[in-house]
C-alpha cells in the first residue's frame, strides 16, 4: 500500500530542510572559516585593489633606497619598481595577474594591515578602516646586490648571498629578468604577461628560490656530513679507480671521476679534487637511509620557511634512496636530486655557523606610515642540523677545497680571508652542465654565505667560483 501523499510531502519537506542546513554550513565555511586563507591569496583582487585605488606601501632595501612605490596616474595608482635587478625579490603587483615576491608575501603589511598589528587588522576587518600604508624593509645590501648583478652579467642563472647569522638575504639576482613595471601597469599588463609566459627562458621564475637544479658536487658537503656523523674516518684512505662500479650487477653502469683519477683519497682530498668515486663509495658505505636523513636535515625536499615563495627541492622521485646506483649517484650530487640555489646557500650557512641553519628571509622590518617599526622580521634558526664538531671538520676541508694545492675552487679566494667553498658541475637533461659554487667567509666566523648557479655553463663550477669570491668580497667590504 502506498503511503498517503501528505506523509510524502512531510518527508520531502524534511529532506529539503536538511539540504538547506547543509548548504548553510557550506556557505558558513566559505564566509567564516576559509576567510583568512582566501583573503590573503595573492590573486585575490581585494588585496590587489589597493594597488589601483590607494597608494601601497614602499619596499626599501637595507640602505633605505626605494625599490618599489605607488605613483599617481589619472585613474588611481600604479606600482613603480626602481631596481629591475630585484624584480624577482620585490615581485609585481598587477590588478589582473595578482602579486608575487615580497608584494605577495607582505601584501597585508603593504596596505597597512600587518599581522604584527592586530589592531589595524581588526579595524580593517570589522570597521573596514584602512591605516595608511607603511613600508617593508628588505635585507638587500645595495653593495652586495650590485656586485652580484655585475658578477652574473647576462648569463642565465642565479646568485644569492645570505647573512648566515640571521638568515637575512643580502643579494638576490635571477637572470633572465622581466620588467615588473610593465606587468603592474594596467596599460601594458596584458601584453607583458603574454610575453613573459611565452618566453622559453621563463623569466618570471625567481631562480634563487624557485629554480630547481641538480646540485652536482656541492651536495658532497651533505654526504660528508652524513659520513662524519656515521663514524666514517675522514683520514682513512679510500681507493679510487676510474671508472668504478660496486659489483657486476651494475652491468654497464659506472661512476666516473671527472679527473679520470687513480689513487688513494682522504675526505679532504675528495673535497679538494671533487672526487665523485670517493663520495659514491662512502655514500654506499653509510647507506641510502642515512644519506636521505641528512639530505632531509639540510632541508632538501622540505619547506625552506623562506618568507617568499620557495621550492622544496627533491631527494629523489620517490623520496627515498632504495637502489645502490641511486645512492651512489646521489652521494656525489646527481641521481634524481633537485635543489634551489637558496637551499644550497643555507647548506653553506649551516656549516659555517657550526651546524645551525638560519631561516632565510627577504624582509627584515615592517614600518608604519610614520616610519616607526611595526614588526621586526627576525625568525629564529631552523635548527641545529649537524653537530658543531662535524661542521668544524667540514669547514676545514672546505677551506682546503678553495685554497689547498690543486683545489678546484681556487678562484673563490679572497686575499687575507679564509674562504670555505665547494664548486659543482651538475649534469642535466638540457645539455651543458650547470656550474655551481657555494661557500662562506670568513671561514672561522662567517658573515656571508653564497650560492652561485650558472645554467649550462661551459666550464661548470670553474666559471662559478670566481663570482662567489667577488660577491663575498663585496659583502665583507674589501
Amino acid at each position: 500500500m502506498t503511503r498517503s501523499i501528505a506523509a510524502n510531502i512531510r518527508g520531502l519537506t524534511l529532506a529539503i530542510a536538511m539540504t538547506f542546513l547543509v548548504t548553510s554550513v557550506g556557505v558558513g565555511y566559505w564566509t567564516l572559516v576559509s576567510g583568512d586563507e582566501l583573503n590573503n591569496d595573492p590573486f585575490n583582487p581585494r588585496l590587489v585593489a589597493a594597488i589601483r585605488d590607494r597608494p601601497r606601501g614602499f619596499i626599501k632595501d637595507a640602505a633605505g633606497n626605494t625599490l618599489a612605490e605607488s605613483v599617481q596616474v589619472p585613474d588611481g595608482y600604479k606600482r613603480v619598481y626602481r631596481d629591475k635587478t630585484l624584480a624577482h625579490a620585490t615581485g609585481y603587483a598587477s590588478f589582473q595577474f595578482g602579486a608575487s615576491g615580497v608584494e605577495a608575501a607582505y601584501a597585508e603589511s603593504l596596505i597597512g594591515q600587518d599581522p604584527g598589528d592586530p589592531l589595524s587588522q581588526w579595524r580593517a576587518r570589522y570597521l573596514r578602516e584602512r591605516a595608511p600604508p607603511g613600508s617593508v624593509m628588505l635585507g638587500i645590501d645595495p653593495k652586495v646586490q650590485q656586485a652580484a648583478v655585475a658578477a652574473l652579467g647576462n648569463r642565465r642563472g642565479a646568485i644569492v648571498a645570505i647573512d648566515p647569522r640571521n638568515g637575512a638575504i643580502l643579494a638576490s639576482v635571477s637572470w633572465p629578468q622581466y620588467d615588473p613595471n610593465r606587468i603592474s601597469d594596467p596599460a601594458t599588463e596584458d601584453a607583458a604577461w603574454k610575453q613573459v609566459i611565452a618566453d622559453p627562458d621563463k623569466p618570471l621564475i625567481n631562480r634563487v628560490t624557485e629554480g630547481l637544479y641538480p646540485p652536482g658536487s656541492t651536495f658532497k658537503i651533505i654526504t660528508g656530513a652524513a659520513a662524519l656523523e656515521s663514524g666514517v674516518d675522514p683520514n682513512a684512505k679510500v681507493r679510487v679507480d676510474d671508472p668504478w662500479q660496486a659489483d657486476t650487477s651494475w652491468g654497464s653502469y659506472f661512476v666516473r671521476s671527472s679527473s679520470r683519477a687513480h689513487g688513494d683519497y682522504t675526505m679532504a682530498d675528495g673535497y679538494r679534487l671533487s672526487e665523485n668515486i670517493y663520495f659514491a663509495k662512502i655514500g654506499l658505505q653509510i647507506g641510502g637511509p642515512k644519506l636521505a636523513e641528512y639530505a632531509q636535515r639540510f632541508g632538501i625536499g622540505s619547506p625552506t620557511h623562506c618568507d617568499i615563495n620557495a621550492s622544496k627541492g627533491q631527494l629523489s622521485r620517490t623520496g627515498v634512496l632504495d637502489r645502490p646506483t641511486l645512492v651512489a649517484d646521489t652521494a656525489y650530487g646527481q641521481g634524481e636530486l633537485l635543489v634551489s640555489p637558496l637551499q644550497m646557500a643555507l647548506v653553506a650557512a649551516a656549516v659555517g655557523m657550526g651546524g645551525v641553519m638560519p631561516t632565510p628571509h627577504y624582509a627584515t622590518e615592517v614600518r608604519d606610515a610614520q616610519g616607526h617599526a611595526v614588526r621586526m622580521i627576525a625568525p629564529g634558526a631552523i635548527g641545529q642540523v649537524i653537530r658543531p664538531e662535524t661542521a668544524r671538520a667540514l669547514t676545514t676541508m672546505l677551506v682546503g677545497a678553495v685554497s689547498g694545492p690543486g683545489a678546484f675552487a681556487f678562484a673563490a679566494k679572497i686575499p687575507g680571508v679564509n674562504v670555505a667553498g665547494k664548486t659543482g658541475s651538475a649534469e642535466n637533461p638540457s645539455g651543458t652542465p650547470h656550474g655551481w659554487f657555494v661557500g662562506f667567509a670568513p671561514a672561522e666566523a662567517p658573515t656571508v654565505a653564497v650560492a652561485i648557479l650558472l645554467e649550462n655553463s661551459p666550464r661548470g663550477g670553474e666559471d662559478a667560483a670566481p663570482l662567489g669570491g667577488r660577491v663575498m668580497q663585496a659583502a665583507l667590504g674589501r
Binding site: M1, T2, R3, S4, I5, A6, A7, N8, I9, R10, G11, L12, T13, I16, A17, T19, F20, V22, T23, S24, G26, V27, G28, Y29, W30, T31, L32, S34, G35, E37, L38, N39, D41, F43, N44, P45, R46, A49, F97, R125, R128
Partner: protein
Amino acid sequence: MIAVTRRRPELGLLFWVAALGITGSVAVAAAEVAGFRPQQLVVPVTFVVIAFVLHVFLAARGVRGDQLLLPIAAALTALGLVLVQRLASNLLVQQLSWTLIAAGAFAATILIPRDLTALSRFKWTWALLGVLLLISPLLPVIGREVNGARIWLGVGTVTFEPWEAVKILLVIFFAAYLEEFREVLAQTQRRFGPIPVPPVPYLVPIVAMWAIAMVVMVFERDLGATLLFLGIFLAMLYLATGEVFYTLIGLVLLLVGGFVAYHVFGHVAARVDIWLHPFADDVRFGTGYQLVQGLFALANGGLFGAGLGNGMPERIPVVWSDFVFDAFAEEVGFAGALALLALYLLFVYRGMLIALRAPTPFLQLLAGGLSFIVALQTIVIVGGNARLIPLTGITLPFVAYGGSSLVTNWMLVALLIRVSDLTARVRGTP
C-alpha cells in the same frame, strides 16, 4: 458575485517589503561614487506600487488562503532589483520592465483558467508542449546559444529561456499523470524480494524522462536544466508513491549518465574539473576564474559583510545572473546569506503547507511540485556558488537577473495561491 477579502497580514508584511526595497536601493546608491540622487527612487517606488496593486487585486478578487507567499516573493524580487542596481545598473530598467510583465503574468494566472482542476484534463497537451519547448532551442533560426548552452529562443533582440516555462508545464503534467495512475498502482504493487518492481506505468516515464534529460545535457549542453528536470520528476514520483527506491533508481541513472557524460563530453568534464580543482593554476585563470572570484567574494563576507556597495562583485564575470548569491553574501555577510536562505525555506515551507492541505491528489502534487522547484533551484545555484556541487546555469529564484525566470516564478506563486484559495473555499476557512 465575488466577496472582497481582507488580507491584513499580507498588507502589513508588504510595508516591510517596501522598507527593504527602498532602503536597499538608497544604500546601494549612497555607496556609489556619484552618491544618491532622488530620481533613483523611481525604481523601488515603482516596484512597491506594483506589489501593493497585486495585493489589492487579490483582495478585490476575494482570493482567500495564504498571505505569506506574495510578501516573500515580493521581498525576494525587491532584493533582486537592489542587486541588479548594484551589480549591473545598466540592466535595471530592463529588470523593472520584466517585473511589470511578471506582475501581469501573476494576475493572469490568478484569473485563468477559471477552474484550476481542469488543468489535469489536458495533461498530454502540457506534456507535448513541454517537450516541444524543451527541444525548441535546437531548432535553427530561433534557437540561440549563450555561453555554450543552447537553451535560448530568440526573435530579434528579445530572448526567452523556454526551459523556465517547461518546468511549470512539467509539474502540471506529472501531477495529473501520477494522480491518474497512483490509485491503479496501489493494488498492482509487486515486489522482488525487498525491492519494489516499478510497474510499467512508472518504469516507462522514468526511462523516458531520463532519456529526455540526457538529450538536454548532450545537445543543449545545460547541466542545470538536466538536474532540475530529473529532480522535479523524482521528487514528484516520491510524492505520489512514497517509494524512496524509485528515487534511488533515478539518482543511479543520473550518476551513470553523469559519469558517462564526464568521460565523453568536454563541457561536463570541464564543469566537474572546475568544481574539484578551482585553485589549480591552470584553472583559476581560465575556466575556473568565475568560481574562484566568487569564493573570494564569499570569504570577504565574514559574519556581517562588507556593507552594501563595499564588495568587489565586479570581478566576478556575469555576476548578475550566475553569482548573485556570492555578491550578496560578500556585502551582507553570513548573517545576511542565512536570512536569504531562510526566506527561501519559508517560501518552500508555505508552499508545502498548501500542498499538505490541498483537497485532491492532483492539487497536492501540483503545489508540492511547484514548491519543490523553488527549493531545488535555490539549492542547486547556492550549492554551485559555494562549491558544494558543480556550478550550473540555474538562476536564483526571483533574485537573479533574468526575465523568463522572473515571469514564470511569479506564475508559480499565483498557482500556489490559487491552490490555497481553492482549499480555503472547500474547507470554508478564510
